[in-house]
Structure formats: C-alpha cells, structure tokens
C-alpha cells in the first residue's frame, strides 16, 4: 500500500508541472494589462512613465522563462510570491482562507450526507411509492435550482420577514464555535442542497442495484430483519460509488464556491482566486489554481485508498 501511495504521488508530479505551465501562461495571455488596471481610477495622470515605473517595481519586466523559473523555485520552497495589488505574501492570504473554505466544504458534505443517504435508502426501498417519488422530485429540484438563486432567497427573505441574517464578520470555530456555526450553517445548507440531490440519486441507484444481488437475497432468506439486510449488507456496498462522488465534490467545493462566498461575505479560496483572476494578480491566481490542483490530486488519491479499504477486492488487485 505504501508503494502504491508513493507511486501515485510521484505520478502526480507531472500533472502538477503541467498545471503550473498552463496557469502561468494562460493568465498572462488573457487580455488586459494589470498595470493599466491599477491606475484605472486616477484623475488624468496615467502616463507611459507611470506605467513603466509600475512594471519595474512589480517585476513584470522579466522575460517569461525567468519569471516562470523564479516562481517555480519559490513554490518548491513554499514561497508563493507577493500579490501585485496588495504587496502581501500570497501564502499568508491563501492560508487565511483555506480553513474557511474547508469548513464550508466539510459542513456542506455533512449536510448533504445527512439528507441524501436516508432519502436515497428510503427511495430505493420504497420504490414506486410516494416515498420514492417525493425524494426524486426533491433531487430534481435540487439539481435544477442554481445555488446562487437559493442563496439569494435565503439571504433576502429572512432579513425582510424576520429581521434576521447570519452574523457578519468571520469568527473562527476555535474562537467562538457558536457564532461560527451561525455564520456557516446557512451557506453550508445552500451548498448541501445541491450536493445532496446528486448524492441521493447515486445512493438510490446504487441501492437498487445492490438490493438485487444474490447475497442480499441470501441474507433475507437467512431470516435477517429487513433493517439488518439494508444497513449492514446492502448500504455498505452501495456507499462505494457514493464515496467517490462525495470525494470529488469535496475538492470542487473547496475551491469553487465563489458565488456562495460572495453572497455570504465569506473570505474563502474561491473568492480569493476569482478576484485575483479579475484583477490579473498573477501570483495569487497561480497560487490559487495550484492549490486547487493539489487538492484534487490528493483527494483522488484519498478516495482511491479509501475505496480499497472498503472493498477488499480492489485491495487485493
């Protein structure tokens, strides 16, 4: 198993190198000069002289290959560079945001699983009844409704009807867990709705497939209660594909919930990366994308390892 893990990690290195080249190049090929953008609001004092001085100061006058090599060497040493706009170390800014996105992603996954698995099991075991149709309709609704729309409704209407909105100003969990959860449960629920919809459907179809297997019929014929058949025999095997989905969704949630972060004023990784792209803050974009790529690679590996523990057949393979 260790050899497998090391081999996978080594194989992921070329992937990450490829991502680094792509992100480094693409952001520089986007139309729009970051220098002009920086002085956009000046009152008639933008000149070539000012633009050149900015370029030099920000190190944007270096040749492409030199700039790439400098950046990669910094990455290896854990130095993600300095933001072109703020002058702050990108590592500090990113590190501040990772726990926020991670907490949001974890809570969203928990929320989704708490809803999706019972509903998926119910839907599968009561196939073609009301208890099947209702969860399926819920899942279609959850997949159809954009999370930004749900999020906006959830923000606007409680504020008007009940004078309530989530507390402002991020509080870390360790500082004030109650306030932290008050801030996070709503956006996590909004994200969880969509995730629970897809997870519920996967759970349902996996359960339906597993319930038809010989070993489930054998379990029933041995006289085991339906509860034991479903939860100890069927669900355990049905969860394997569900874990795969949830694992990949988690890495997507970690970096891609920009709209929810903006709506709920949470300074997460998605918002950080989007801002950086819009402002052409090259070091920040590069750091954000590399972070997401690394998370994707690691999460895929974790899911595969978990898979092998849950399914002994894969382990022996």
């Amino acid at each position: 198993m260790y050899r497998y893990i090391i081999r996978r990690l080594l194989l992921s290195l070329p992937v990450l190198v490829g991502v680094s080249i792509v992100v480094f190049s693409l952001i520089r090929f986007l139309p729009g000069d970051v220098i002009v953008s920086m002085v956009a609001q000046a009152e008639g004092s933008v000149t070539e002289e000012i633009k050149e001085s900015y370029k030099k100061k920000l190190g944007l006058d270096k040749p492409y290959h030199e700039a790439y090599a400098t950046w990669v060497w910094g990455l290896v040493r854990g130095d993600l560079g300095t933001s072109l706009w703020t002058g702050d170390p990108v590592r500090t800014e990113l590190a501040r945001r990772i726990p926020i996105s991670a907490e949001l992603a974890i809570l969203a996954v928990v929320f989704a699983l708490v809803i999706a698995i019972p509903l998926g099991v119910l839907s599968a075991t009561k196939q073609d009844s009301f208890w099947d149709y209702a969860p399926r309709l819920f899942s279609i609704g959850g997949l159809s409704m954009p999370d930004f729309w749900i999020g906006t409704l959830v923000i606007v209407f409680p504020a008007i009807w009940w004078r309530w909105s989530a507390p402002l100003g991020y509080s870390p969990f360790l500082d004030d867990p109650v306030r932290n959860l008050q801030q996070f449960w709503v956006p996590a629920a909004v994200l969880g709705v969509r995730l629970s919809a897809s997870t519920m459907r996967m759970t349902r179809s996996a359960m339906l497939e597993v319930m038809r297997e010989d070993y489930v019929r054998t379990a029933r014929s041995k006289g085991l209660t339906e509860r034991v058949v479903i939860y100890r025999h069927a669900l355990r095997n049905a969860l394997i594909p569900v874990i795969t989905i949830v694992g990949t969704q988690f890495s997507r949630l970690l970096g891609g919930t920009v709209v929810i972060e903006i709506l709920f004023a949470l300074p997460g990784v998605g918002r950080f990366t989007l801002d950086a792209i819009l402002k052409r803050d090259y070091p920040s974009v590069q750091a954000g994308v590399m972070f997401l790529a690394t998370v994707m690679v690691i999460m895929n590996l974790v899911v595969d390892i978990f898979y092998s523990y849950v399914d002994p057949r894969i382990r022996h393979q």
């Binding site: 139309p31 729009g32 000046a42 009844s129 504020a159 909105s165 004023a265 819009l278």
Partner: protein, 564 residues
C-alpha cells in the same frame, strides 16, 4: 401510485397554491415591493420625497457608540500615493487629515464645493496666484502609535508628504507647477508655484492627498501596510475582504471630536447581502440603495432616512474613436446623438432617477440643471432627422456601419441603455454588437485608449473643473480617452487653466461645454441618481455632488454621531 399520477397531483396542488398567492399583474403594490406605477409617479418628485439635505433634529450630539456599516470597498493597500481606489481612501480619510478639505455635514451646499480648513487653520494666496501661505493648527499630534508615538505635527511633515507626492505616484501632476515648499516656522508652510494655477487648492483639499508621517515611508519604503496619522480615528484592524475596525483617537486636535467611539465596516460586494445586513439591523449604513423602488419601500419605515442625490452631469458615454472615420465626421456623431433616446433610457433603466446632460457638471457653469430641450438640436430624439443626417454621412439601414461596442456593467442601467440605443441606431444605419466585458479587459481598452471603434466608457471626474475640461478633452491629455482633437477646445481648455478670475473662468467653461454640445464629441447616457440610506440614529451624515457615501467620503466620520 404511478409516477405520472404523482406528478399530476403535485402540479395541480402547486397551481392551486400559486393562484391563491400570486401577486396581481399590475396595480397598487402588495407589501414588500413598490409597483411600477408608484415609482413612475414618485419619479416626478424624488427630490421632494427624499430631500437631499433634511434638517437635523434639534438635539445636542451625543458621545459614544459604534457605527456599523456595509462597505463595497476592499482596500488593496493603504498607500494614498499609489491608488485612487475607494478602498484605500475609506481608511486614509479617517486616519489622516489633509491640509484642507471639502465642507460636509448638514451645513454644506450639496452642489457647490466649499473648501474649509483641516490641518491648516488659514491660508492666503498672493495676488499673482504664485505664492501660498498656510498657517497650521496648533497642538496637532500624530496618533500615539509606533513609529510616530504621538509626537508633534509640524510644517516639516507637510513639506515631506507633499514632496513625496511630487516624487512618486498618481498625484505628481498636482505638484507639477510647484517650484518650492518652505517651512519658515513649525506652524507655517509656504508654496511657490512656477505659474499661477487654479487647481492647486482644490487638489490638496481632495480626498486623495492626506498628510502621512515620514517615519512609515522611510522605514517601509511605501505606505501600503501601515496607516498612522493625525486623524480622528485609529486603525485597529484591517482584515481584507472582511472588515475594517477603527477606534476614536483620544488625542485628536479638534477638541470635542469625534463623537463616536469607533466604527466597524464589513466588506461585502453583493447588494443583496448588504441589504440583508441592513434589514437585519446588523449595520446602520450602506452606500446606495439599489433602486428607486427599494427607496420607496424603505421610506415606509420611520427608522430609515433616505436622501436622493441627483447627478449633475451625464454619466457613461457612448464613446467613439474620434481620430477615425466616420466618427470624426460631425454629421455622423450628430445623427447618432439624435437617434439616442435618452429619456427612454432614464425612464426604463433608471426608473426616472437621474439626469440628462453633458459631461460637465451643470453646477460649474449654471445656477440650475438645464432641461433636455435647452441642450440643443443634436440632443433631441428625432429618428427621421437622424436618418437623413446619417445618410449624408454615408450610412443607411440598408448599408449600415457595423461596429463592436464593449461595456462593463458598473450598474444595470448601462447595459440597459446600450440595448435601447442599439435598437434605435439600427434604424438609422448603425449596427452595434454590444459586448459585456470583464473589468480588466474593458478598462485596458478604455484607459489604454485602444478600443477599436466604439465603447461605453466612463471618464475621469473629480472636484476640479479642469478635470472635466482639459483633463477629458484636451488633445494632449492622457485622460482624453476618446481622442478628441479640436483646436478650439485645446485653446479654450488651456486658457481656463490659467484664468484666476472665477467669473471669467466660468464663462470659458460655458463656451467649452457649448462647443461640446454642438460638436457632440461624446454621446452621453443619462446620469443615475443615488438613493443613500442610513438608520435615523446616524446623525450629521449628508451626501451631495462632491460628498459621496460614507465609505468613499469617510472624512465625514469626523462629525458623525449616534442618537442611541
């Protein structure tokens, strides 16, 4: 039960529920949303419904309390030399002072700019306009924080800061005419100019030139990370994308100020989030209300104080590359202008809350806002006349000119106005592909002056007449984004720069504006009016042409108090 039966049952129940609860298509509003009729009716009277400068209650200001606000601005850094973004100045205008500043608060004039003392208690200008003498307030101290540690503020600090602005950054132009700055004593600063300038006082009173301490610049190399000033508030916390926290400066040199203990500005970009924060009473100030309909609805609650500030100039420009054919043909421009239905844009896109007029704010040259019919023939919507003139310029609906016109949606009205214009222009022979762009790409084309044919553009604006005249229109000005190159305009804009007599200068400005109206160098969209809202416990807060909302004009924090 089959799935089909289930779906039919659900659809039937939903339809019954919807018919019971759905709002009427038109007519008086149900609670929560002002109807279109109400808005249209109110549009005739916004200025009376939401007075720009309502009287303050006859109460003595109270001390204490914390102000909570929802700001759109995330400060990239704290260096006022290297930015003119709102995010930077919402902090520097609380932490620093300037030599002079603009009058604000209940006693200000909403449309006329009045310069008042700040760090300087008085100033004199020589008759020839070449020499300025500033007398500083006594007893001014820097805030009691490292690296200044509460030391006394002197004239040397002013000299240092102004020379730093002259050396590097976006305000070099302000000090371009300065020959020397001297400090004959610790409370006096003298400035000698190379030539008379009617810009200097106005610029140093603007929000963009606060006085900062030399220690920070010398130690850090810039002012990006730290802000320690002489101002009414001390910066306690700045967490980017989250919040700004300031506390009262107990040693502020203006005795009795500030009134409040501090403020917390939460940073949020989304308007729905801001309004939710306001409606849930977590904040007492936001910048603008999103629409007139919101303003009408919120007015029903006594706790909301809403002021309407009409714009004094047109806003976004349907701009053309005036150095290229056919845009350099005045017939073409006049035709397009006559085919632009600005009234429809104002009514449809801005709910009637706005102003139709040229780029130059009317308050610089007139006593009141001009009516649309007073702007001349080329500003009147007349498709037939436009078609005829366009044909003379060489284009017809059958043989149109096809161009791309990018824009950035600073507000919803911009794209809406572009869509209205697009339809009308097609009828006279101009087909526009209106393209929405991201911020950086758009501003590169606009500020870099590299757009190909047309663009929906914004222009530099400011508190000084020269910005609107020389800045926007002189052929050599870097801020002349649309390549205006008119010898008459060049000559007049240079002349007004050196004219020290305000009456004569005003007359020259009027001439320039009239020429702009006639030659249609820019086809203006309507300017959008702003509805400012705050809880009625926030006192001494006002907005006008030159004094924006609290986050952009945060120097207003000096005299704010909370009636709680």
């Amino acid at each position: 039960m089959s799935y089909r039966t289930f779906l039919i049952s659900l659809a039937t129940i939903s339809a019954l529920l919807w018919s019971a609860c759905a709002p009427a298509a038109e007519g008086p509003s149900k609670e929560g949303v002002a109807s279109k009729e109400e808005v249209a009716q109110a549009a005739k009277n916004f200025q009376d419904l939401f007075p720009i400068n309502p009287p303050e209650p006859a109460k003595k200001p109270k001390y204490g309390g914390t102000l909570y606000g929802a700001s759109s601005y995330d400060p990239a850094h704290l260096d006022p030399r290297l930015s003119s973004a709102g995010g930077v100045f919402q902090i520097t205008n609380m932490v620093y002072n300037k030599m002079l500043k603009y009058k604000h608060g209940p006693e200000f004039h909403p449309f006329n700019l009045e310069i008042i003392p700040d760090l300087a208690k008085s100033w004199e200008v020589s008759k020839d306009g070449l020499n300025y003498t500033f007398k500083l307030n006594e007893g001014v101290k820097w805030q009691n924080l490292s690296p200044v540690n509460g030391r006394s503020f002197t004239s040397e600090d002013v000299k240092y800061a102004w020379e730093a602005y002259a050396k590097e950054g976006l305000e070099k132009g302000t000090f371009a005419d300065v020959d020397k700055i001297e400090t004959p004593d610790p409370l006096t600063v003298t400035v000698a100019l190379k030539q008379p300038s009617n810009l200097f006082l106005n610029r140093i009173a603007s929000p963009y030139i606060p006085i900062f301490p030399k220690e920070i610049l010398e130690q850090d190399g810039d002012l990006k990370k730290r802000a320690v000033g002489t101002g009414p508030y001390i910066l306690k916390e700045l967490t980017k994308k989250e919040k700004i926290v300031v506390e009262k400066n107990p040693n502020y040199f203006k005795k009795g100020y500030p009134y409040i203990d501090g403020a917390v500005f939460y940073i949020m970009e989304d308007i729905a989030t801001k309004m939710a924060a306001y409606n849930s009473r977590q904040v007492d100030v936001v910048n603008y209300l999103p629409s007139a309909a919101d303003a009408l609805e919120m007015k029903k609650a006594a706790e909301n104080e809403i002021r309407y500030v009409p714009p004094t100039s047109g806003s976004q420009v349907f701009a053309m590359r005036l150095d290229k054919a056919p845009f350099n043909d005045v017939r073409f421009r006049r035709a397009v202008s006559m085919a632009t239905n600005r009234q429809a844009m104002l009514d449809t896109c801005y709910e009637g809350a706005g102003y139709i007029g040229p780029s130059l704010p009317w308050s610089f040259v007139l006593d009141k806002a001009p009516k649309l019919e007073e702007l001349g023939p080329w500003w009147q919507y007349n498709l037939e006349a436009a078609k005829k003139l366009m044909a003379e310029a060489g284009y017809t609906p059958e043989k149109p000119l096809k161009v791309t016109m990018p824009y950035y949606p600073y507000n919803e009205g911009i794209g809406c106005s572009a869509a209205i214009a697009q339809e009308d222009w097609k009828k006279i022979g101009l087909e526009t592909d209106v393209q929405r762009m991201d911020y950086t790409t758009y501003n590169n084309q606009l500020i870099g002056r590299t757009f190909d044919t047309m663009i929906v553009g914004w222009q530099v604006a400011g508190q000084e007449l020269d910005t609107f005249l020389y800045g926007q229109m002189h052929s050599k000005s870097p801020a002349n984004r649309f390549h205006i190159n008119d010898p008459v305009i060049d000559q007049l804009t240079e002349q007004q720069r050196r004219e020290l007599d305000p009456v004569k200068r005003k007359a020259i400005a009027k001439q320039i504006s009239d020429r702009d109206l006639d030659q249609v160098f820019r086809i203006m969209q309507p300017g959008a009016g702003s509805f400012y809202v705050n809880r009625n416990t926030v006192r001494n807060y006002r907005n006008g042409q030159w004094v924006s909302h609290l986050f952009y004009s945060s120097y207003q924090m000096e005299i704010l108090w909370l009636d709680k």
